[in-house]
Symmetry: C2
Subunit: 322 residues, 2 copies
């Protein structure tokens, strides 16, 4: 057993062969551990600085799913003692309105981190909006400078995007070896697919990004040690898309509305019933990557507060995550 | 024939099956065409602004190969009428010295583009140095903001790094289709491998980056429609690493010194004798990607000059190259 533990990926194999089916990763439990640490840091920060770390959220429109995300994020802030405020703008808000909201948060000394809830309505220039966030408050890590530094070997972003950081956190928590292993990332969005692939590359995985125009994506995933899907296409990844003992992270979230109750149900990209028979480890939806992503937002906000007050070295992402 | 032309990659196939061996891409001829266009733009710019576009080069150390590159770049500037100056610093130069040279060029109104010849000595912080170049003068495209915008879908970098742009230029010149095709980039350096893979992804290729820690890189290259090697390992890519009819770009350059004459000879990453029997199109070393990379530096410098004087729209890389 000790030898298996040392071998990293062997750890996952051990569990899989033990139970016959893939182990489901309990993202909530990983997130709770992180939140506990953040809460302690928050309390200490408050004692030293006289105020809690602060997160400012800009939410444009009325997308139901985004509303739930924003609610969950502010709730998680409350849990850990981080103060949060949300500027809600209507669907038709002008770019100037959005930029003004960000400017307010940029200038507000009680706000350490700023999050623009994505996606934003199509008439707005996402690049211009995200680039207007002060680099030292870009806790979602989506500023081009942070993405550039995530891509460039030897550089270190101030903040790693939360979803990518969550995936890495889960892989590290489950002792999945990355260096030299083959990872396929499905989906090439800026929020998840891109930063995930860049982060895996920083950890010396061999990475292929497959997307909507890739012919036969299953030809790639079938060879992969690690498959991370972030498309939002329910049940896209079937059991026969996976190699035996693969590690699978499901980042895709689709909201299916119950026609009777109107309630939203979450389902992922991975056909979990089939995938469990093949893979060694799977993060489910809900309860997998999602809660850890929120925990990472709290961690980044805490980090931003520390950096602004000189409580942290200047290149923060060099330790656990990058 | 017309149908083959329309099919893009079929164009390459046509030549290959016609001649039996892969067609060698004549990079010099592609570069000459570009330089002619740049020279015309330079003349017009000079007439309108009263001075030629200017390139400032910072060269630290005495690496023989770098000396040749810098010489070739300034020579190409002369050819097209771009003025160039080179600040040469000794191997042991302090970071402050290098930053001061860049600051001078940043502030010099006659300098439109700045190039720091890479690699720089190891005691210098490459990130800090490259980040200090004014974004609007970063004609080598290595600033984290440019890399970030190259990575982010929907964003456009002010300048695409020259080697990546040269590869794309050659592929476009030879009508090689990228969208939906499988490309393997060997080498994950910041100057070539990284921006090449990001640029191919922007053009909807499915891309794998293989590197020193990849197990059996040939398993990936053997499936690839396009193989681009940028490692500097002579003859790394053998004939049996390639799929029939693959398109191969050789970006790696190794300098082999003749023990008698002391002269430097250039050889690439690709074992060209073997590869020609399998591939459909190959860019050789020398005479392939190299001359086009220099032409791209001139093009970027011209573009920087135009942007500074408002002769070009603000998002310049949206047309031919990205």
């Amino acid at each position: 057993m000790r030898r298996l533990l040392r071998r990293g990926i062997g750890f996952a194999r051990f569990f899989s062969s033990h139970g016959g089916e893939a182990v489901l990763i309990d993202g909530k439990s990983v997130a709770d551990d992180i939140k506990q640490v953040v809460a302690k840091d928050v309390a200490l920060f408050k004692e030293l600085v006289g105020r809690p770390p602060g997160l400012g959220v800009v939410f444009v429109g009325s997308r139901k799913a985004s509303e739930i995300y924003v609610h969950n994020k502010t709730l998680a802030c409350d849990e850990t003692g981080i103060s949060s405020s949300c500027t809600k703008l209507p669907e038709g808000a002008s770019e100037e309105d959005v930029l003004a909201s960000i400017r307010n948060y940029n200038e507000d000394p009680s706000v350490d981190g700023i999050l623009v809830q994505l996606p934003i309505p199509k008439h707005l220039d996402e690049d211009r909006i995200l680039s207007s966030i002060s680099l030292e408050k870009d806790v979602d890590g989506c500023h081009p400078v942070n993405i550039g530094n995530l891509a460039l070997k030897g550089n270190q972003p101030l903040f790693v995007p939360c979803t990518a950081k969550a995936c890495l956190q889960l892989l590290l928590a489950k002792r999945v070896q990355l260096s030299g292993r083959y990872a396929v990332v499905i989906g090439c969005g800026n929020i998840a697919g891109l930063p995930i692939s860049l982060l895996l590359q920083q950890h010396n995985a061999t990475v292929t990004r497959v997307h909507a125009l890739t012919k036969a994506p299953e030809d790639y995933t079938r060879k992969a040690d690690i498959v991370i899907s972030a498309t939002g296409s329910p049940n896209l990844v079937r059991g026969n898309w996976l190699k035996q003992e693969a590690v699978v992270l499901d980042v895709g979230i689709s909201h299916i509305q119950d026609p009777c109750s109107g309630e939203l149900h979450l389902i992922g990209d991975v056909c979990i019933g089939e995938a469990r028979k093949v893979a060694s480890l799977i993060s489910p939806v809900p309860g997998g990557v999602g809660p850890v992503t929120i925990a990472m937002l709290l961690q980044n906000t805490m980090l931003a507060a520390k950096l602004r007050h000189g409580f942290h070295q200047s290149k923060p992402e060099s330790d656990a995550v990058k």
